[in-house]
């Protein structure tokens, strides 16, 4: 082979993110390039550092490609985090992922400068899982400690009346079983490998938001390839690729939900009247995001309008 591309990820080698996405991507690129590109995949932060270091590792050329979440590097991808705002989602990864790609490539060029976007696709829908107390109405949030994975969703949880708590993913199972937190906001698919249904009991089955999974390539690594090999990368990235990943992620939702129901858990729907109340209540999280984007030289309000327009067009609920 003439070129070696290294992919660094915080995900476990056994996770869907590797078995269905990064490993397949590596195979596909190797095959399409006729063996001229070799792709090496390093899961579980095997090349050192913490997930917060991934973006810098890509920017510095330690690796060529990273798989990360915008929340790991606060302040680096605030625009992309807009896609993770509550009620800004379509509920399905297959429709949310193309919306994400459209927003990122059409409106966030400044944020993604120096980065060749392989794919920004969404997880399946995230919802509220609690241990002792079901969350059926806004009043139920009072006094709850809920584990969240990022700043803006933390703002939303606070606006709804609960207290957001930050715990790294591997520690969440124990924190739930020990009562350190009363619940968490997380997508269905991930509850299966982490067996969260063993420690949670109530599941408010309404798609509150969707997290973004970003596969990013260093622009310089891309530019270093000859045009025909750049075309191979192009063929394995973009809206279609993200949509395909979205379809795969959606297939993980139902088995996770069924496993939870089989475990005897209480999975219930949210009253539409409550949905309307919650939507009105999370406005502070939107304001924080708009302000943040404005402080970065964007027209925050216009960007928010674009975000709403794009997600609405792709089927926001």
């Amino acid at each position: 082979q003439e070129h070696t591309l290294r992919i660094h990820s915080f995900g476990s080698a056994a996770s869907l993110d590797h078995t269905a996405h990064l490993d397949r991507w590596a195979e596909s690129v190797e095959a399409d390039s006729g063996g001229r590109i070799a792709v090496e995949v390093y899961p579980s932060m095997q090349l050192g550092g913490s997930p917060a270091d991934l973006v810098q590792q890509m920017e510095d050329g330690v690796v060529d490609i990273i798989w990360t979440l915008p929340g790991f590097t606060p302040g680096r991808f605030p625009g992309a985090q807009g896609l993770e705002l509550p009620f800004m989602n379509t509920g399905r990864s297959a429709t949310m992922s193309p919306a994400a790609m459209e927003f990122v490539t059409g409106h966030l060029q400044q944020e993604f400068e120096g980065v060749k976007v392989i794919s920004v696709h969404a997880t399946d829908a995230a919802l509220i899982h609690t241990v002792d107390r079901p969350v059926r109405t806004m009043e139920d949030f009072q006094g709850l400690k809920l584990r969240v994975a990022g700043r803006f969703i933390g703002e939303a949880v606070a606006a709804l009346g609960a207290t957001p708590v930050g715990i790294p993913l591997p520690g969440v199972y124990e924190a739930l079983s020990r009562g350190q937190v009363d619940g968490m906001l997380i997508n269905w698919a991930i509850t299966q490998p982490f067996r969260f249904y063993e420690v949670t009991q109530h599941h408010t089955d309404y798609p509150l938001f969707q997290s973004m999974l970003m596969t990013l390539m260093r622009q310089e690594s891309y530019d270093a390839l000859p045009p025909d090999l750049q075309a191979v990368i192009d063929a394995n990235s973009g809206v279609e690729y993200a949509t395909r990943m979205g379809e795969i992620w959606d297939t993980a939702t139902e088995p996770a939900r069924q496993a939870t129901i089989a475990a005897g858990d209480d999975v219930f729907e949210l009253d539409p009247a409550e949905v309307a109340r919650w939507k009105a209540a999370v406005q502070p999280a939107y304001d924080v995001w708009i302000e943040e984007m404005t402080s970065r030289g964007y027209d925050g309000a216009a960007l928010f309008a674009a975000l709403q327009e794009i997600t609405a067009r792709h089927g926001r609920q």
């Binding site: 080698a13 899961p43 050192g48 590792q57 510095d60 330690v62 067996r195």
Partner: protein, 438 residues
């Protein structure tokens, strides 16, 4: 040089440097850096070093190490461990090896909650080591007991590595905890047997105290109760779900510090010495952890673990021979690698191999059984002579014990580990009976 050769050279270089008196951390950093640059060139190495050091130093989970060390320093400045060991001697001192057995129990409880065998070995070396020596125990038996005891926590919940293995293999954490019960009990029983035999074969290594009457015992226990209460608070608080290991470490440090001031008469100079002692131990442990991280990153880049397992698979051997070979690899890796890094680096290549073997049991059963074996092998690697991270740590903290004595002392414990590994390989039921898997 191929990646595989670079990997082999890295191991060779570390071992040569260790023999030639290069400090452990420096040897791992040098071999790691050269291996890293050998694969990627110097640019990526220098770039990754920009964030690696401070990332490793400022870690929430690793912060338990300085906090528990500070707690241990306060305990010894305040004389709290003296009180604990006087009580232990009053109760158990008339038995052969009684104090060593008490230390095994304390190590198991402490290691279980702290989750890191290096931190357990370091803390217990400070708390228990000097006391065992003061009561006439030989250097070999003392360091051997600390090394063996330090590895016990890994099988006893909450075990960080067990949780990571469970998530990786999508096995239930509860099932793995259950699977670890019998092997964990076997480990404790094995270590106690080693101490009993040792004390009989070499009575001078574990002198017996005279049997105390109950009024004396009560008096000694009353003197030890504040320290015992803090220990119970820390251990019980974690099992009871009141706080996380880091929180427990902080609470332990603050509580023992207060006790040392109030009961032990610790003053400003005592506080200063406690901090300086914590500083030196923390510094060498963290630099080793940094070296281990760079070394395993470089080893990942060489792709040697993957190729090694491919070569093993290609040998087409009997399933049990494959298992034995894999366990031997873990013993070797344990010479210079930290247990968590070993597990993370090797699982992606090893678990598919295990699932492909015809072991006469279901896939989940094979993974549970193998997981228990790996956990034991990983820990044995860390205490097996001549190279083993925990041995270096313990020996550095027990300066009056020559390394050769430590090697002698730990041999019996390693032997009991290897016997236990053999038993669980021969009778997978030891790990599987209680889980109901087959």
């Amino acid at each position: 040089m191929s990646g595989f050769e670079v990997g082999v050279a890295m191991f060779g270089a570390v071992l040569v440097m260790l023999v030639l008196r290069v400090p452990v951390a420096a040897a791992m950093l040098i071999a790691g850096a050269c291996g890293y640059a050998g694969v990627t060139g110097w640019g990526p190495l220098l770039a990754t070093l920009k964030t690696l050091t401070f990332s490793r130093f400022s870690s929430y989970t690793l912060s338990i190490i300085p906090l528990f060390l500070l707690m241990g320093e306060f305990a010894s400045r305040g004389g709290l461990n003296i009180a604990l060991y006087r009580a232990a001697r009053a109760l158990l001192g008339h038995r052969r090896g009684g104090l060593a057995m008490a230390t095994i129990g304390a190590c198991a409880a402490f290691g279980a909650l702290c989750g890191s065998s290096i931190a357990t070995a370091a803390t217990m070396s400070k708390v228990a080591g000097p006391e065992m020596r003061r009561h006439g125990y030989s250097g070999a038996l003392t360091t051997g007991t600390l090394a063996g005891g330090g590895t016990l926590g890994i099988l006893i919940p909450p075990s960080v590595i067990l949780v990571i293995y469970a998530i990786y293999t999508e096995l239930s954490i509860g099932v793995l905890f259950v699977a670890a019960i019998l092997p964990g009990a076997l480990a404790v029983a094995g270590y106690l047997a080693v101490i009993a035999i040792y004390a009989r074969v070499a009575p001078g290594a574990a002198p017996r105290a005279e049997r105390r009457d109950w009024p004396t015992r009560w008096r000694e226990m009353r003197a030890a109760w504040p320290a015992a209460a803090v220990f119970l608070l820390v251990v019980g608080g974690i099992y009871g779900g009141w706080f996380s290991p880091t929180e427990a470490a902080a609470i332990g440090a603050v509580a023992v510090g207060a006790l040392a001031v109030v009961l032990g008469g610790m003053r400003l100079d005592g506080l200063r010495d406690a901090i300086l002692g914590t500083a030196r131990t923390t510094a060498f442990i963290f630099l080793i952890l940094l070296g281990a991280e760079l070394f395993s990153a470089a080893l990942a880049l060489t792709r040697m673990p993957a190729e090694l397992s491919a070569r093993v698979a290609a040998l087409d051997m009997a399933p049990l021979a494959v298992i034995a070979l894999v366990l031997c690899v873990y013993l070797v890796l344990g010479c210079v690698m930290e247990s968590l890094a070993m597990v993370l680096l090797t699982l992606p290549v090893v678990t598919p191999m295990i699932l492909a073997l015809d072991l006469g049991m279901s896939g989940p059963a094979a993974l549970v059984w193998f997981g228990i074996l790996v956990l034991i092998a990983v820990e044995v690697g860390m205490i097996s002579p001549p190279f083993g991270l925990n041995l270096f740590v313990i020996n550095a903290l027990m300066r009056d014990v020559p390394m050769t004595q430590t090697y002698l002392g730990v041999a019996g414990f390693c032997l009991s580990d290897v016997l236990r590994l053999g038993l669980i390989v021969a009778f997978p039921g030891l790990a599987l009976w209680l889980t109901g898997l087959s």
